[in-house]
Symmetry: C2
Subunit: 404 residues, 2 copies
């Protein structure tokens, strides 16, 4: 008998019919002789509706009260799903984050899980229950309700798989698994049967929004067997796991990300410490910077360009504008019409030819590269957003990703 | 500096505007130098909507999961109200039943409060917070979420007033206080400035649905100063309290109740133990019986008539029908077109003339009395539902209840 943790997102349980379907799917796996712990998110638009209610009252809600409010969404889901399983004749019990004993820090709206007391879940499993757990939430040491931020329910599922020493953790979503590229853009994109944690991490942060990085990092740290599957069919998904053949160079896939703004600070003095000053003030405001490009010095000044998420653009610009004199820089400007395409694969750094192939594919299509960024297992190029689809098809073809 | 517990019902916080109004009212009392603990129910239709969601999934939801579901309604309310107070510039913190430490038994959907650990509330008050508490809910010894059943939020408020040794407990509702009769029926009904716990208990159970009996019983037991007020104006309400002048006979008010079905079991053998058999089988199914009338024996049989809430009528009938042979009775029948009018006042039992005055008022209007029931402090008559308004006006006038 195995112990399986499953996670279903909000779209998988958006209405009564979908809840019943998910209940049947859970029971099917249970009937194969498995103990089941199931993590769910809030239904469909619930979270958005709750946010709207808060916004009607104040533009600036307390983050503690916001978490108190939003956590009700998952609580509704778990009760309804437990009822659905009961209606189908099986025993289920729902548990909130607090009841499971998911202890987090007090960083409301973006809390980190610190410990999970798995006793309650184990006791319910031993009593023959299917255990339904509210994702995305926990409590701090004072029992204040916290939420885990983006990708929180995935993180809850993986953390529970760790705490319970589960045989596997299945993340159900609306796609079949991880593809070599977005199938909506690249016709012959191929589903991967497996991928390493590191490759998945790069793919996730590069815009393939299937799994959130936090959950993959946690899975990697504790070596959780993670499977990404569709809640709409019974196809095998993609298994994310520790892969041994790291030496063999394989380009796994092509990722793209439109959520990027490029910011340029012009005329920064060519002196030590200027980049530190600039990025320190952004870091202090919790703004993540991705690719950084520094021009060579001319007239004793440099231009520093970097990318941020579009949602951080205005804040970043205003911070820099407020400090232009401190930076002794001439001006700051931005461009939104950019996007990032990336190839991901283990062992890339030891294969310099790979980067060339990527640049060649882009050149053949007449696509200009604004910025380049590389890591152990990925190469990213910032290009015009309008060129992204053409670029992905060309790169996918160049690396023959449609073939096994 | 006082400590005041206030309770606002679902209609008082049904939308954003009403929440802001309640927030202002709370702050006004806070600014007078009081520490404030505020209990709220779920907004307007929230509970009904949640029940509807459950009913779409199953006709027979687990009561544990139902409580898990319904308790989200109050949780949404407390978060929004705390945000509203914050928006107006005051410190507020919301707490669920679990966080307050409201421990109940495990009787889901109708749980009883066992203990309240007031430490957390006191700490938040000492930190200068207005404390917003979710009504109607608690947790059992295993931290399962429970709800308190009808009138639950009133009970939460009174229980908190006890645990915190509050100076008073104000129940805000959509009426100004307790009246000598329903002002919609009796034009010159008068608001009472005060009423005893016992009188309030009789009025509540007799159909004046302002306060739930459980909360009044609790207030009586711990001598909590309870005030019923309107959330729509600043009028003085009615104070419910221990009243010393019990010897002085005063008819406090006239109550009415349409939620009554009369059931008659015909041809029950005139033997000892038959009434016990009949009412035991109803009690076993948790059906409350109110007035009971047993006819004198004829041909060695009696007829037993009694009243139940309309919602229990079908269940009661079917239980009796299933057991007609056990009871050796001929048949069972019911009548819905009945209602109860009652007068309430301390010391009634020592004033036999009072009952006569009531019967006289009814006789003068040509109203027939089906059943009579009396207690220490009330006299109830079952009459035709169509006669209720006429009866109330006549009784109100007979006892000159319009005058102080």
């Amino acid at each position: 008998m195995g112990l399986i943790v499953q996670k279903y997102g909000g779209s998988s349980i958006a209405d009564t019919q979908k809840i019943m379907n998910v209940a049947k799917r859970i029971i099917d796996t249970h009937k194969e002789g498995n103990q089941m712990v199931v993590v769910v998110s809030a239904q469909g638009d619930t979270t958005d509706n709750l946010i709207k209610m808060a916004k009607e009252i104040t533009d600036n809600p307390s983050s503690r009260e916001m978490d108190m409010l939003l956590s009700t969404g998952e609580q509704i889901s778990i009760a309804l799903l437990a009822m659905a399983i009961g209606e189908l004749g099986y025993k289920a019990v729902s548990l909130t984050g607090a009841q499971v004993g998911i202890k987090t820090n007090s960083d409301y709206s973006n809390a980190r899980i610190e410990t999970i007391d798995s006793d309650r879940v184990k006791r319910e499993l031993d009593d023959g229950n299917i255990v339904i757990v509210a994702g995305f939430q926990g409590v701090d040491c004072e029992y204040n309700i916290t939420t885990l931020g983006r990708g929180g329910s995935d993180t809850t599922a993986v953390a529970l798989a760790v705490a319970l020493d589960a045989d596997r953790c299945e993340i159900f979503t609306d796609v079949d698994g991880i593809y070599t590229a977005d199938p909506r853009i690249v016709d012959d994109a191929r589903k991967l049967s497996e991928i390493s944690y590191d490759e998945m991490l790069e793919l996730a942060s590069l815009g393939a929004r299937v799994l959130h990085n936090r959950s993959v990092e946690l899975a990697k740290k504790y070596n959780v067997r993670l499977v990404v599957r569709s809640s709409l069919n019974n196809n095998d998904g993609t298994e994310v796991k520790d892969m041994a053949d790291m030496e063999k160079m394989v380009v796994r896939g092509v990722a793209h990300d439109y959520d990027i703004a490029q910011i340029s600070v012009v005329g920064v003095p060519d002196e030590p410490g200027m980049a530190y000053k600039l990025f320190k003030m952004l870091a202090d405001e919790n703004i993540n910077v991705d690719i950084i490009l520094q021009s060579t010095a001319r007239d004793n000044t440099r231009d520093i360009s970097f990318t941020v998420a579009k949602s951080n653009r205005d804040r970043a610009i205003s911070i820099i504008e407020d400090n232009l004199s401190l930076l002794d820089a001439r001006s700051v400007s931005y461009s939104d019409g950019v996007a990032k395409v990336s190839i991901v694969g283990a062992g890339m750094v030891e294969n310099p030819g790979i980067a060339c192939m990527m640049f060649e594919a882009l050149a053949e299509e007449g696509i200009n590269i604004h910025m380049i960024s590389t890591s152990e297992i990925k190469i990213s190029c910032l290009i015009k957003a309008d060129d992204v689809e053409k670029a992905m098809v060309a790169i996918h073809k160049k690396f023959k990703l449609n073939c096994e």
